[in-house]
């Protein structure tokens, strides 16, 4: 069914590069080794060198690139800003990387219909910025939102802290223009809801560039809330904090964000950002509620009560937007803050039902002692989306090995508790061999069938999402920003 492609043959290269240059202009085709090595990595790590990197300006350019690649039987990998955390944008087996940095126009903004039409290279935060003055924003807010592109968000179905109330990328994408591997262009969904037919938009979102190359995106815009209340609840035990998470939802409150940070992490964050987090606490919850003023203040008061009942030492409410920004700055810079205290770390992404948080945190703590590692915890507690950060020194191969094992156990435990192997970072080539832990052979067979409909020769982003069968149930952790397999270190 699918041929495993393997980049460009040396005999092809000159011909292919020449064709690409004629198509796009010399400046927009990279093929020298010193340039290509800049496209070996994404936010995860280093994984494979492309044979060429090209920068189309239009859908027509993409069509021609795909046509050429199909004719020459060369794999194609789409790339936004390369901030992904599962290796989605790297050319695992070589081939042509299609960079979208020039297709970065906001094509249309239609506020009365709460829509925007954009090219895939538009940076997530730039879209929100473009409509901010009118009181609108684009809701999904991955931590990399100042750099990551909407095309990448669509490919990975990105989340973020505020997706607890507003949903992830798939809930905000209405329509797509997609170039299929046979160089045909199809339009899925549209600017209105409920176009009859199968929800191909929903299928494309999160398909990690293995079903088609998205060249245009229609998204929903949301109104900014009247009021936002940001609270910081301080706990003396991790268990109290995690219990509070389920207690808040049990009270019928849906916060717009509910983030947790353990004591170890928050001390590192505090030293880096001076956000005012208490240095001696065991855990904090960062909670945000919003809506009309009455709703936000009532919810905030209720949350204060719930935190109190669950033995919070203190609950602070940000009084000004500057205070709010400060609290969030700590959260958003947390990964980096840990980077300051550990030469390397491996960030994992798993999901569990939020009521299982207390036992999961105990399990993670047991992994620390079992493997002799430090694990920081900072995550989207409200939707049970964990991000354990396993710290180590990449120059120590033995320790690196232990990190991979511990991460593997944590992810497997997530599945045992009824969760998932990834909540927002994607499968990519980090976790495709773990897919059988979550899905049966029947489920996977169905996914393969779907892939074969769109991408019969496997030329689009080969080696991602589905298990290759070459490794067995392992994390392909060349992982972690600067993770154990990060070649650069």
């Amino acid at each position: 069914m699918s041929v495993e492609p393997g980049g460009i043959l040396p005999s092809q290269k000159a011909r292919v590069v020449d064709s690409l240059q004629r198509l796009l202009g010399r400046d927009h085709v990279l093929y020298q080794p010193e340039d290509l090595m800049l496209y070996e990595y994404d936010g995860l790590s280093t994984h494979g060198t492309p044979d060429a990197v090209v920068f189309p300006l239009s859908t027509e350019d993409v069509v021609e690139i795909v046509r050429l690649a199909a004719r020459e039987r060369i794999p194609i990998v789409a790339r936004g800003a390369g901030t992904g955390l599962s290796g989605g944008a790297v050319a695992a087996v070589g081939g042509i990387v299609v960079g979208f940095s020039r297709m970065n126009k906001i094509l249309a903004i239609d506020l009365e219909n709460q829509r925007a039409r954009v090219q895939p290279g538009v940076v997530n935060a730039d879209l929100s910025l473009a409509v901010a003055a009118e009181g609108y924003y684009y809701a999904p807010d991955p931590s990399s939102q100042k750099a990551c592109t909407l095309g990448g968000n669509v490919a990975e179905n990105s989340g973020g802290p505020h997706t607890l109330a507003y949903g992830v990328t798939t809930n905000h994408v209405l329509g797509l223009e997609v170039v299929l591997p046979d160089a045909s262009v199809v339009h899925t969904g549209g600017s209105c809801w409920d176009r009859p037919g199968y929800d191909l938009t929903g299928l494309m979102v999160g398909s990690e560039g293995t079903l088609g190359i998205v060249t245009e995106i229609t998204v929903r815009l949301c109104r900014k809330p009247e009021m936002v209340q940001t609270l910081l609840a301080v706990f003396d035990s991790v268990a109290d904090a995690t219990r509070t998470v389920a207690a808040i939802t049990a009270r019928g409150i849906t916060p717009s964000a509910l983030e947790m940070m353990d004591g170890f992490t928050l001390r590192a964050v505090e030293e880096a950002t001076h956000a005012g987090y208490p240095m001696d606490s065991a855990a904090v919850l960062l909670i945000e509620v919003e809506g009309i003023e009455e709703a936000a203040t009532e919810d905030a008061a209720q949350i204060e009560a719930v935190c109190g009942e669950n033995l919070a030492r203190e609950v602070r409410r940000a009084r000004t937007s500057a205070e709010r920004e400060l609290l969030w700055r700590g959260r958003k810079n947390a990964f980096g803050a840990l980077g300051r205290i550990s030469p390397s770390y491996y960030v994992q992404d798993g999901v569990i039902p939020r009521t299982r948080l207390p036992e999961m945190m105990e399990f993670i703590a047991s992994m620390e002692s079992k493997y002799g590692l430090r694990i920081g915890n900072i995550f989207h507690a409200g939707d049970g989306n964990l991000h354990p950060l396993l710290m180590y020194d990449s120059r120590n191969p033995e320790q690196s090995r232990r990190v991979v094992q511990a991460a593997g156990e944590i992810i497997t435990r997530c599945v045992e508790l009824g969760g998932s192997i990834t909540g927002e970072h994607g499968v990519g080539l980090e976790k495709n061999e773990l897919m059988p832990v979550l899905f049966s052979e029947n489920d996977l067979a169905m996914m393969r069938t779907i892939k074969s409909v769109f991408n019969p020769d496997g030329m689009l982003n080969p080696g991602k999402v589905l298990p290759t069968g070459k490794m067995c149930g392992e994390l392909r952790v060349s992982a972690g920003a600067g993770g154990p397999g990060d070649e650069r270190r």
């Binding site: 209105c192 809801w193 409920d194 299928l203 398909s207 069938t449 779907i450 999402v465």
Partner: protein, 449 residues
Amino acid sequence: MTNAAEVWLAGLASTMGGQQVTAEPSTCAALATGGIAPHCVAYPTTPESVAAALRFASESGLAVIPCRNATKLPIGNPPRRYDIALSVKELNQVWRYEPNDLTVSVEPGMKLGDFQHFLARHQLWIPLDPPGGDRASLGGIVAANASGPYRARYGAPRDMVLGLSIATTEGKIIKTGGRVVKNVAGYDLTKLFVGSFGTLGVIVDINLKLFPAPACRSTWAFHAAALNGTQMFRRKLLRSPLNPLRAVLMDEGGRRLAGAPWSQGSDTFDIWIEFGGSERVIRRSIAAAIELARSVGLEPREIADDEARPGWQRITECNPPPNASGSHEVLLKAALPIDGVEEFLAHARSETGRARVPLACFAQLGTGIVRVFLLPEPPFENLFTLVERLRGAVVGKGGSLVVERWPIEMGPGVDSWGPMGDDFRVMRELKNVWDPHGALSPGRYVGGL
């Protein structure tokens, strides 16, 4: 009944392991669609027997239509073939209910009304008000991605289904998605099944996200003399921080269906808005909405709870109007740009006026979805053209128009779904992959799938 049919009936019954298969004519007739009744109705009691039945049908070249309470059977084109009605009536358990996780697994035969009742114990609910109302089964709602005016605030089944179990025509049961609220592992096959009208497989289990129910509710009507008033009001409302549970614009025909006796004027319109939340939140929301309404000349009026509840039911359930003779009504669902509903209403009113067909409209504010009842008298000769013209207007705005009900007595109808786009060939390939022998609702779905 032919000999051949008797043979496969016996085969089906034995495949399903002695479960109930009935060929009783009145039971079959009740599940007819497009003027065609099935040869039998099967009531599988386990997901496995659903899968076995599908495999049997697929291998025997038989056609199956999954169903429960027949609320969705009128939607879609007449089937090319129809042998077995596969009722999921017996699959109606709730399990893995985790109120603190706000998640649940429920079988497709569970009726929406029963499910809401079940959830109410923990002040939870599933914010859906689809056509068919309480009688609609969750399986049908998910298969049709059916929603009502709650959608603007809460989304559609598409946004609430976390995962599904699907019985396939190969006789397998596959799992899509998961049970947690955030999950990006693998292809999102869940999206493919939601809204696929049972043409790819049969849903045997649904993992849903639940929501805290609003503590209080209050409904207000805002009366407008003309559509430009409702348009100004809608725009202001959508730009305001207010976030009502639902809001619907209706014409006088809609008002009559909703049973709102106080408003007068044949060319006037009403907007119903239901607010939810704490009393303080509702008070503030109402005050703000009234201010908005007055600023554009709309008259507010509170609807008493005992009027509001049945009123909303009539608005959302889309049942045949009580006074009209039940069989003579066409139900259309137009999906328009949010800002295009008033223009469409005006257009629909002038087209139907010219064709002398009475109508009733319910337009959701915030989604652009309009449900239009046409209430024609015989003969129905110009109806086909009328619907096509309305469809043309909607499609011209980038939207779609689905015929959700077209009584068979009125003769062959318009294609239920309308024109397909350039992605249709992908849909056809997907259908071929999942249902190579055309066992599932053949001919009923888009483009004759």
